[in-house]
């Protein structure tokens, strides 16, 4: 957020408007964590449209994956609902829960989105998230076949990710 404040000051002095240099803006927003991107989306309509673009979320999803994901992954994720949905519905809860478990076991504390971003994500974790994401997509396709939930947008099989961890 410090970078954005400095840019605003520069705005007044040298008539530089970040909104005229979208590529720089995108480069900056690409490096933020999920929560900050969501905050940035509230600035103006231009920023909202950039924040909604999947490229941004793709770089967020795979920023620290080691080893890097297979090349054919982009069409698959896009077909299943896009990177933004992958991150918000699956990756973030999965990784935060896994890292919280690890921290509990090693006796640490604290947390939040920034920590989730900074740790190195192993490929297994990302693969599991994508599999869960796929099941989620499938359930959204047909409501899981259960009559009572036809209009329900939230996938029920991912609900266990949203519940509080029994600390």
């Amino acid at each position: 957020m410090v970078q954005l404040v400095e840019l605003k000051k520069g705005n007044k002095r040298s008539k530089f408007c970040i909104n005229d240099n979208m590529d720089i803006l995108i480069e900056i927003l690409k490096r933020l964590d999920g929560r900050s991107i969501a905050t940035a989306a509230c600035v103006c309509r231009l920023w909202l449209s950039i924040a909604r673009s999947d490229r941004l979320w793709e770089s967020l999803c795979f920023r620290h994956v080691s080893p890097p994901p297979p090349p054919g992954i982009r069409p698959v994720v896009e077909a299943l609902g896009g990177y933004r949905r992958l991150y918000t519905a699956c990756l973030r809860p999965v990784l935060s829960r896994l890292s919280r478990r690890k921290r509990l076991r090693s006796g640490g504390s604290g947390g939040g989105d920034a920590e989730v971003v900074r740790r190195v994500w192993r490929r297994h974790e990302v693969e599991l998230s994508i599999s869960l994401f796929c099941v989620d997509y499938y359930e959204r396709l047909g409501g899981g076949g259960v009559g009572g939930r036809v209009g329900d947008g939230s996938a029920s099989s991912l609900m266990f990710l949203c519940k509080h961890v029994n600390v």
Partner: protein, 541 residues
């Protein structure tokens, strides 16, 4: 005299070993107790037992000076008349000794709940009513103490009563078992039956009463549609099915490595929740996805909807969006043994995977005329020459011939399973998941013969059976183990554990394995075609 506890069991077994009460006149004196020096009428036996229990409870909870008073100073009139002696003791104990008034009040919610529960329970029991009246109509602290302590005792007592009742059922003592069921239902009203042992006991008492009183409809028959709904809720509420699906998928994925035409046969398609993950994994595998054929077996839908085909269409849509060539075939069969291999339309050059999630145990029931269908089915599976057969089964021994053994096993198994569900306190699907489990319990306990399909057997037995049918085990690799462990850490409950057992994975709750996943491959036939023909002839007999 012998301590109350053993006389309770003595009176129980005495009446059962002497001929049943129905045949004797009501004031007949019980033989065996008479031999021990007590005169008790057979018709009174049950009440005497109840009162002895109550006496025991009060004596256990009474302060030490009271029990010494009972032991030394109390005057007993005619102790051989057991019924009135117990009554006299209870009436001595009813006015509470002054020591109880010093006990602190318990201000918490459980006290308030107890009072609500106890009013209804007490109305039916005259003794307690008398006790309450003697306290001036308010609920005093000493009674709180006894009810709180009795709660834990009640749980243990319920378990003992359940075991006794099961033994009575096995021996054919149905009238006594029925009386015991009434007792247990009264006790259940006092225990907290919303969680813990109370809840499990509630289901088991229900199953026993179904077995005794409504044997025709005991099995909780439900339509295929209802089964699917309950299955779906069970899938969402706990990790057992997810573990099964993900582990089997990982094994199938590894077995299909390098093959371009693959065919998966699913013994129980349901909503096809297992397959999206496999389709996606195949889409992302290095070298590109193969042509995937899926044949799903399921029960026929009664109302004209082709539910199998609907599932197939949805899976096909998903496969299309991730660019996997996909073909679906559905086989509608109400029982697995009705499926014939030609219905599966297996091509000659395909790599075949057979996937059975909790289906093989249904084939273990044997018909006197036909024998067990399990051998026939395992035979044709083997003849398909599959690259892998994934088998996931409940890790329990519910197929024993003796009812009491089944009952004991089921009590342990399902109480562990309900325990693992306890953490999902406010999950909306939890009630449906419990109904799903309840159906299994009722089938294990209430049905017999061909109606009993939940014939769970432990992994060791399946190993022997599959080994004898010409399969050799494939080790599930470390990838499957890692994936399963990760999946479990996502669930908020901390008690799940994944263990590796000679190449198979088991998922359990607090070190009791509840579900076991294994993978198998057909041992290649070394013998020339002549032996093959005789093998087939043996299968046809």
């Amino acid at each position: 005299m012998s301590p109350p506890d053993s006389s309770v069991t003595n009176s129980g077994s005495a009446s059962s070993s002497s001929s049943s009460c129905a045949g004797k006149p009501p004031d007949h004196i019980d033989n065996l107790l008479a031999g021990a020096g007590y005169r008790v009428r057979s018709s009174d036996l049950r009440q005497v037992a109840q009162r002895l229990e109550r006496l025991e409870t009060v004596m256990v909870n009474a302060p030490s000076d009271l029990s010494s008073h009972l032991a030394n100073d109390a005057v007993h009139y005619n102790p051989s008349d057991l019924a009135s002696w117990v009554d006299s003791l209870l009436s001595e104990l009813n006015p509470p000794p002054p020591a109880h008034a010093d006990l602190p009040d318990f201000p918490d919610l459980s006290y308030a709940d107890r009072t609500v529960d106890n009013t209804s329970a007490w109305v039916g029991e005259e003794r307690r009513h008398v006790a309450a009246a003697q306290q001036g109509g308010i609920f005093p602290p000493p009674l709180t103490t006894t009810t709180v302590v009795m709660d834990e005792d009640s749980g243990i007592r319920l378990v003992h009563m359940l075991m006794t009742c099961a033994e009575l059922v096995q021996r054919g003592e149905f009238s006594l078992a029925g009386a015991l069921i009434d007792e247990m239902q009264l006790l259940l009203a006092r225990v907290n039956s919303g969680c813990g042992i109370g809840k499990v006991a509630g289901y088991f008492v229900d199953a026993l009463s179904r077995r005794l009183f409504t044997p025709q409809t005991a099995g909780l028959i439900s339509s295929a549609h209802e089964n699917e709904i309950l299955y779906h809720h069970f899938y969402e509420a706990c990790p057992y099915l997810k573990f099964a699906h993900f582990t089997a998928n990982q094994a199938i994925l590894e077995a299909f490595d390098g093959h371009e035409c693959v065919h998966v046969i699913d013994f129980n398609l349901m909503h096809g929740l297992q397959w999206p993950a496999l389709i996606q994994a195949l889409a992302l595998r290095p070298g590109g996805p193969p042509l995937l054929r899926l044949t799903g077996i399921g029960p026929p839908s009664p109302d004209g909807r082709d539910s199998l085909r609907e599932v197939g269409v949805r899976l096909a849509e998903l496969a299309r969006s991730v660019n996997v060539r996909f073909a679906f075939g559905g086989v509608a069969a109400s029982r697995l043994e009705d499926v014939k291999p030609w219905m599966l339309q297996v091509g000659p050059k395909e790599a075949v995977a057979v996937n059975s999630i909790m289906q093989l145990h249904r084939l273990l029931g044997s018909d006197p005329t036909r024998g067990s269908p399990i051998n026939t089915v395992l035979g044709w599976i083997r003849n398909l020459n599959p690259k892998i057969v994934t088998v996931v089964e409940q890790e329990a021994n519910h197929n024993q011939p003796e009812f009491l053994d089944r009952f004991t096993e089921a009590l342990h198994y399902y109480s562990t399973m309900f325990d693992s569900l306890e953490t999902y306190l406010s999950h909306p699907n939890k009630a449906f998941a419990e109904m799903y489990i309840q159906r299994e319990i009722c089938n294990v306990l209430c049905c017999d013969g061909l109606a009993r399909v939940e014939r769970h057997e432990p992994l060791a037995k399946w190993r022997v059976r599959l080994g004898g049918a010409g399969f050799r085990p494939l080790h599930l690799g470390s990838n499957a183990f890692k994936q399963a462990s990760m999946l479990l850490t996502l669930f908020s409950a901390e008690g799940y554990c994944v263990e590796e057992n000679e190449g198979c994975l088991t998922l359990g709750w607090h070190s009791r394995p509840l579900i076991a996943a294994s993978a198998w491959q057909a041992v290649p036939e070394p013998s020339p075609p002549l032996n093959l023909i005789s093998h087939r002839n043996q299968n046809n007999l």
